[in-house]
């Protein structure tokens, strides 16, 4: 996807003035509420009209105030997944799923209903009324409906914010799978750094209607580490769940992690804050933390008043943070050896 946006719009109490160009498939739009995320979505999708400027998607002019071009929303082929499912209440699951598909030109029907049903596991729900679906199922139907309209760009406007954490991380794999399977480039809108990390590679940071930064999600997470309440979030993907003395043992790279919030499922995804990791210069003989990893420092970076330490732990990457004084006491240097201690109870299970 190649998206060029240069737009201005005055809403009276609030104005939008954005100029950016993006190439990529997994793009995040990040910012607090009131930063202009939803307005930007409305302008790109054609649901709101910019005052001035131009929007060009893959060389196709969607809007240009000078040339007097304003392509109607229904012709832009930009799919939307909203904050809530917004399924059509008078249609059943099948009717909702096929609404966009039926209106898609034959030559543009690249994605078929069968494949979407399969990826989103919706086949058994087809004939159901939408009121008889759970929140997660409804959002899956909404995703399927948008994907089946065979869009050239999918905009997901905080699609997870209406769901509680448990359902959120059930939906994320579906989102990932669907976009990967059908190669749909997307804009993922969110105010959550964690969601950004899971869903996007590049990110556009908005504030008060302006683009303040265009960066990678990794850099964004590092920059925000020092000022953020939760620090840097390490996403830990583990396999091979095994019960061990009341905890769960998983394989993570070449080592084993003990996690108290594990479960019987073979695979697991956990988040671990950079603040929950304690670093040791030498091997501590005995500690209460159940995980002690021998690591190599691969990078050191500053973020606010803190120092981020990127480490390679048996083939897996981990970021810990320490205050400046601690960093000098530990004499952390790139390439140096270090020990990371993590309590089994500080991992938060995502999936």
């Amino acid at each position: 996807m190649d998206l060029k946006v240069d737009i201005k719009k005055d809403f009276g109490h609030f104005s939008i003035d954005m100029d950016f160009a993006f190439q990529g498939e997994r793009i995040g739009v990040f910012g607090p509420s009131g930063s202009g995320k939803s307005s930007l979505v409305g302008l790109i999708s054609g649901l709101r009209r910019p005052g001035k400027g131009s929007i060009i998607l893959d060389g196709d002019v969607l809007f240009d105030s000078e040339q007097g071009i304003d392509m109607a929303s229904e012709h832009r082929r930009i799919g939307m997944v909203f904050q809530r499912p917004y399924l059509f209440p008078h249609l059943n699951v099948k009717g909702n799923l096929l609404y966009g598909f039926k209106r898609c030109k034959l030559e543009e029907r690249r994605i078929t209903p069968e494949s979407v049903l399969d990826v989103l596991q919706l086949t058994h729900l087809l004939e159901r009324g939408i009121k008889n679906l759970s929140g997660g199922e409804q959002q899956r139907v909404a995703i399927g409906r948008a994907v089946l309209s065979n869009p050239r760009l999918l905009i997901m406007d905080e699609p997870l914010s209406g769901l509680d954490d448990r359902i959120k991380f059930q939906i994320i794999p579906f989102l990932n799978r669907v976009c990967e399977a059908f190669k749909i480039p997307y804009l993922f809108i969110s105010h959550s750094l964690l969601e950004m990390k899971v869903m996007a590679d590049q990110v556009l940071v908005l504030s008060e209607g302006r683009v303040i930064e265009q960066t990678t999600t990794e850099n964004l997470a590092r920059d925000r580490m020092g000022e953020n309440e939760i620090g840097y979030i390490n996403l830990i993907r583990v396999i091979g769940s095994r019960r061990l003395n009341g905890l769960y043992a998983y394989k993570w790279g070449k080592q084993e992690l003990l996690i108290s919030s594990g479960n019987e499922q073979e695979e697991g995804l956990f988040e671990l804050s950079s603040r929950e990791i304690i670093l040791f210069k030498r091997h501590p003989e005995a500690i209460s933390a159940r995980n002690l990893l021998q690591c190599r420092v691969t990078d050191i970076f500053e973020s606010g008043r803190r120092i981020g330490v990127e480490m390679d732990c048996g083939g897996e990457r981990l970021i810990a943070e320490v205050v400046k004084e601690a960093a000098s006491e530990l004499s952390i240097t790139k390439g140096g050896e270090i020990y990371a201690a993590i309590k089994a109870s500080v991992f938060r299970r995502l999936a």
Binding site: S45, G46, L47, R77, I78, G79, M80, R103
Partner: protein, 227 residues
């Protein structure tokens, strides 16, 4: 008591015919007006709002008189129609127009209530799924405001059965031609020994009205169950 004359029967039938025709003719206009007033922002909106709702507050006699001026042989509309051999005033068509005008705001109000309850994001969703404006109106807005459409139609039909003031002026009170139930009752009350017949026609009115209400309740019940 049910010793109706042929004029009474034709009054009952005419009442139903006028009310049904007025309702059916008003449906597309009512829907379009309700749509404009719910979903569109334009300058003349307030003006449209006033014009549509005016018959609700104006005395029906005033409406009848204005229609008479408009549709009469010398009136701006009547002048155009007369050479074509179309006469409206003092025919049942005039009764239909009078009924439509008087009942129109009731129909529009119900439809608006139905449309206002539709979440605008559903409309946004249908647009991004490739449905144009007309497509969205037919496949999303109409089905989702169906209760308002039905309620508005029934309300207008019921109101149409009782239309008197505007009808009597623009259509007259011609037995067998433009005399509807209310006009027939009016005539009976003015004639000696007409009380019984007036009362009988009142009962017919009540029966039809109750039937409309029961039908409405039944339909709403069915629709709630279908949800």
């Amino acid at each position: 008591m049910l010793d109706f004359t042929s004029n009474d029967y034709s009054a009952i039938l005419l009442s139903l015919k006028v009310a049904v025709t007025a309702t059916l003719i008003s449906l597309p206009f009512g829907f379009a007006t309700a749509y404009l007033m719910t979903f569109k922002r334009f300058r003349a909106r307030i003006l449209l709002d006033i014009i549509v709702n005016l018959p609700l507050t104006l005395p029906p006699v005033v409406i009848g008189y204005l229609l008479l001026i408009l549709l009469g042989r010398q009136g701006p509309v009547g002048k155009l129609l007369f050479p074509m051999g179309i006469q409206i005033i003092f025919t049942w068509k005039a009764a239909v127009i009078a009924t439509a005008v008087v009942g129109f705001p009731l129909m529009v109000r119900s439809m608006r209530t139905g449309m206002e309850s539709i979440d605008k994001t559903l409309i946004d969703a249908s647009r991004t799924l490739g449905a144009g404006r007309i497509d969205t109106i037919i496949t999303i807005i109409a089905p989702l405001s169906i209760r308002g459409i039905i309620a508005g139609s029934l309300l207008m039909f019921a109101r149409g059965l009782g239309e008197f003031g505007a009808t009597v002026i623009v259509a007259g009170n011609i037995p067998g031609v433009t005399q509807t139930i209310p006009l027939a009752i009016y005539e009976y009350t003015g004639s000696p020994r007409g009380d019984t017949m007036a009362l009988a026609l009142c009962i017919v009115s009540i029966v039809i009205s109750v039937a409309v209400l029961i039908f409405h309740e039944w339909l709403s019940g069915r629709m709630s169950r279908a949800d």
